[in-house]
């Protein structure tokens, strides 16, 4: 047999077989190396991919916490809303689906496409919300046409409900989808694109408490995206509720009292700093900001010269006008420059250097002491006092009452106003202070700017004779089971350090403003409760002897600050009517209504009482 072995081609067939075997071996080794790479070296990566193939995360939105008034009445809560979401990876025919959705939902094609493209960078299989807040009819229609809409999910999500519609819209704020910039910020590091977040007011500033923890379900799906089973579930937890210091009824009265006028009203509990009412008028509809804002509505908001989107109570900076005379008076008494018997003569103007400073009453007030100066708001008295005090002493006194800096009431972007000093002017404008400017400051004009909240807080400190409470809007934080997580008790942030006698004298003057003949604030008077206060009319622009109708935006602002009851103060208010012209006739009545509602609520005034006829001796009252 050995002989026959060389029948193979020219004898090297055997060698060729060996070469072929080696070739086969090398090829198999190559396959094995590749398997080693896939199954040993790169296995973690590929295992991840296989897990993300079969596992999908379905987010379950957590309801936000509610916002309640001080008595537990609901200001903002939640209601279920249906939204249409698309999982792009499950969509077979994108163009056709967009056509169908546009038709069924009555939307613009482009709008859907934009949303689709915006969601491009999201996690795989993350549902992309195309339309939210669809009607029940639309939802049912979509459900019926499910087969033609593969990749479309209808999701139920809790959204904000506003039982009182526009009430306290600035205070409560609104929600909207988180923006690109916000997503980049440290504060929102746990948020995902498409999440809703508070954009203003309490909703924004107390977001971290209100926002619940979203839950989710990890589900297993097959290659067609069909649900097979739930692998893991993490429950969503409801956000905590924020209980405000606001009294819903008082808030309602405050807002209604404005009618169609623009302005702000703030009421503060004198003995705790709790804000009882925080109104800015006109308001807006917060629900519109969460869904699709109709373009014409948006235009309307922007073009309204009453600026409905602006939170005037918090951010509106107005010259305090004559309400600031309270500060000038206190500064004068404390400095010993005046006493209750000091009198000056008011001829209706005051000549200072080359210029003439007019009193609001051209006829003049004659002999004026402190009480009369406050009651009738005599400008000349305060020009002279301010001149002797100098601007820095007035500013020092104003700052003791919390003016000139944000108070920190618990909302972001609070404005601080301006209390000018010589140094301030040098820094700000690089110019020396003029004595004449001090005279304007003395009557709350010139550079002086304050916010309604600051004025209310100032009034509260005057009323309680020196204790500066931290004005605050949030009473406590409560979890979903009603357990109190955080309490915000009254907090004393300072004492004015003013002599009790000074307060007594100033408050006597303020009582006279409302209750004595010739007082400028008689429209705030209540028959059952003694009200004290001060009117103000602050100039927007200097109008020299203008005749006829003054254009709206140039009209003076009307102000009133006050407190009650006079003997044992409980509540302080500040009211401003933008371009309302006269503090006595425009602002004081609103303050009166507010105080009346407060005491009605307390049972001090019986509710169905006839309006006190009190306008007899104040028909002509106007001040400057």
């Amino acid at each position: 047999m050995k002989l026959q072995q060389n029948i193979l081609p020219e004898g090297d067939g055997g060698r060729r077989i060996i070469w072929l075997s080696i070739g086969a071996f090398v090829m198999f080794f190559l396959l094995l190396s590749r398997l080693w790479y896939l199954q040993v070296v790169d296995t973690d990566n590929l295992l991840d991919q296989s897990e993300s193939n079969r596992l999908r995360f379905v987010p379950v939105a957590a309801p936000r916490g509610a916002i309640l008034d001080r008595n537990g009445k609901v200001l903002v809560s939640n209601t279920p809303s249906f939204s249409v979401a698309v999982i792009p990876q499950d969509v077979k025919n994108k163009e056709q689906l967009i056509d169908n959705l546009a038709r069924y939902l009555n939307l613009d094609r482009k709008e859907i496409e934009d949303k689709w493209n915006k969601g491009q960078g999201r996690a795989k299989y993350y549902p992309l919300v195309i339309a939210s807040g669809i009607s029940r009819d639309q939802m049912e229609f979509l459900e019926e046409n499910r087969l033609a809409l593969s990749g479309v999910n209808i999701e139920m999500k809790p959204v904000r409900a506003y039982p009182n519609a526009q009430l306290a819209s600035h205070l409560l704020g609104y929600l909207a989808e988180i923006s690109e910039e916000e997503l980049g910020a440290e504060r929102y590091k746990d948020y995902n694109a498409g999440d809703y977040t508070g954009k203003s007011g309490i909703e924004r500033s107390w977001e971290s408490f209100l926002h619940g923890t979203d839950g989710g379900r990890q589900i297993e799906v097959d290659a067609r995206g069909r649900f097979l089973r739930t692998v893991e579930e993490t429950g969503s937890s409801v956000g905590n509720s924020v209980v405000l210091t606001i009294d819903l009824e008082l808030q309602k009265v405050a807002e209604q009292a404005f009618g169609d006028k623009a302005g702000a009203a703030v009421a503060i509990d004198v003995n705790s700093g709790e804000v009882l009412a925080f109104a800015s008028n006109p308001g807006f509809d917060p629900a519109l900001f969460t869904g699709r804002m109709p373009p014409d509505k948006w235009k309307e908001y922007l073009e309204d010269k009453r600026h409905p989107l602006e939170n005037k109570a918090l951010k509106g900076m107005y010259p305090p006008g004559s309400t600031f005379k309270i500060i000038t008076a206190i500064a004068g008494l404390e400095a010993g420059l005046i006493d209750p018997h000091t009198t000056i003569d008011c001829p209706g103007y005051y000549k200072f250097g080359n210029s003439t400073f007019k009193c609001w009453d051209k006829k003049g007030h004659g002999q004026v002491d402190l009480k009369k100066a406050l009651r009738e708001s005599c400008d000349v008295y305060f020009y002279k006092l301010a001149e002797r005090l100098g601007v820095d002493r007035i500013a020092a006194c104003a700052k003791r009452f919390g003016l000139g800096a944000p108070l920190g009431i618990g909302l972001e972007n609070e404005k601080g106003g301006i209390i000018p000093t010589q140094e301030w002017k040098l820094k700000r404008f690089g110019k020396k202070w003029f004595q004449g400017e001090t005279l304007s400051v003395g009557i709350g004009q010139g550079y002086v700017l304050t916010t309604p909240v600051q004025l209310a807080s100032m009034m509260a400190t005057v009323a309680n004779e020196g204790i500066v409470y931290q004005p605050h809007l949030v009473k406590r934080i409560v979890d979903s089971e009603g357990k109190v997580l955080k309490e915000f008790p009254p907090q004393v942030t300072g004492r004015s350090g003013i002599k009790p006698e000074t307060y007594r004298l100033v408050k006597e003057g303020l009582l006279a403003v409302v209750n004595e003949p010739h007082g400028t604030g008689s429209t705030a008077r209540l028959s059952e409760v003694k009200v004290a206060g001060k009117t103000g009319t602050s100039q927007v622009v200097k109008l020299r002897d203008s005749k006829g109708e003054v254009p709206y935006q140039f009209r003076d602002h009307a102000l009133f600050v006050g407190f009650a009851p006079y003997d044992k103060p409980e509540i302080a208010v500040a009211v401003i009517i933008e371009h309302g012209e006269h503090g006595g006739s425009a602002a004081a009545p609103i303050a009166g209504k507010l105080l009346k509602a407060y005491f009605e609520g307390k049972g001090v005034i019986r509710k169905p009482v006839p309006k006190p006829a009190s306008t007899s001796d104040s028909e002509e009252t106007i001040d400057n």
Partner: protein, 366 residues
């Protein structure tokens, strides 16, 4: 005519090897199809029927002396070539390709027997061909014509996978016979313009897409790149020891395409891991080397060439299928012999093994 020596010399090792691989294949098909809708006859059972049928055919082939094939080789070649022409003229079109032909009561796919027939034809041709210094270009002319005719016809169907396989099998046999370096170099030089023209004019768009997607599967992860990506994920996520029988998520949740046929090995890789793949690869290597061993031990040139051809056929099927499953090669529809579900592949492979057994047990007959 039955010789007792045939029984004593029967190659039990080869048969056992084949049965072992088909056994793994059945178990794997059971897992790969367990998520499918219930059928009257489940796939794994059908596969067993095919194995039995294949074995009968295999034993039939090996019971007849393979030297008879030497006489029939050209006749068979002519007949199958005719069928290939008939397919193009009167074939049945399904899924964009014309591969089947009706022959009275049954349909056949002539490209499949061509794999075996080209082996016989080349073995017949070279068994009588004196070559001492390797084949020259002139020597190659006739065999290339024999190869080119069926290859082009199969490509025209279009069935790129089978065409490539036929060329690779014949090419391996040519290398075994011996080709001069100079001829080899000329062939490669000629191949470049031919490949270019082929790319430009002969390849269909779906075929080009497969190649594009092989080069960069992420171009269209939901579409034509899907197969490669999902298969790689399946195999890789199996890690060292696999996810366990019936526990492969890629396969059980149907992320894998054609997971009981062309991509059966990726189901196996996911469920049995690197260890399982290593075992399978070893068995297949053993099978190929055993076939080559038969070629080496065979005493006549025709048998030796036949054995090399059949080994090459098995080898290229294995390499191309596995390479495709693990993302080394583009997706071409080539099944894994004895492992993928399917009667056609089982019959062809079993006939091949029948030929090997035949040669193996008759090595002492002369």
């Amino acid at each position: 005519m039955f010789d007792r020596r045939l029984f004593t010399n029967f190659d039990w090792t080869l048969l056992a090897l084949v049965l072992l691989i088909t056994g793994f294949g059945v178990v794997n098909i059971y897992s790969a199809t367990s998520s499918y809708r219930d059928m009257a006859t489940p796939y794994f059972l059908k596969q067993i029927y095919w194995i039995v049928a294949g074995l009968v055919l295999c034993l039939t082939v090996c019971s007849l002396d393979y030297h008879m094939l030497e006489d029939f080789a050209y006749w068979l070649y002519g007949a199958v070539l005719l069928l290939l022409v008939l397919v193009l003229v009167a074939g049945k079109t399904s899924m964009g390709a014309t591969r089947w032909i009706h022959l009275g009561f049954f349909s056949i796919q002539p490209s499949e027997p061509m794999k075996i027939v080209i082996i016989m034809t080349f073995a017949r041709f070279f068994s009588r061909y004196p070559t001492f210094k390797g084949l020259t270009l002139k020597d190659l002319a006739y065999p290339l014509l024999l190869l080119g005719a069926p290859a082009l016809l199969i490509m025209k169907q279009p069935d790129l996978g089978t065409a490539i396989l036929v060329v690779l099998i014949a090419g391996t046999m040519l290398l075994f016979v011996g080709v001069r370096w100079s001829s080899l170099a000329s062939l490669f030089a000629a191949a470049i313009p031919i490949l270019y023209c082929g790319w430009r004019f002969a390849l269909h768009d779906y075929q080009k897409n497969r190649i594009y997607n092989f080069l960069n599967p992420d171009l269209d992860p939901q579409g034509s790149g899907y197969h490669i990506i999902q298969s790689k994920i399946a195999v890789g996520s199996g890690a060292t020891f696999g996810k366990g029988f019936l526990h492969g998520t890629q396969s059980q949740l149907r992320f894998l395409p054609e997971q009981h046929t062309d991509f059966a090995f990726s189901v196996f890789g996911e469920e049995w891991g690197f260890v399982g793949c290593f075992v399978m690869l070893t068995l297949y290597l053993f099978l190929v080397l055993w076939g080559l061993g038969i070629a080496k031990r065979c005493n006549d040139r025709f048998g030796s060439l036949l054995a090399v051809g059949v080994s090459a056929m098995l080898f290229w099927h294995i390499v191309i299928n596995m390479g495709m499953v693990i993302g080394l090669f583009p997706v071409v529809g080539v099944p894994l012999p004895f492992f993928s579900y399917g009667g056609t592949s089982m019959v062809t492979s079993m006939v091949g093994v029948g030929i090997l057994l035949n040669i193996s047990m008759r090595r002492f007959m002369f």
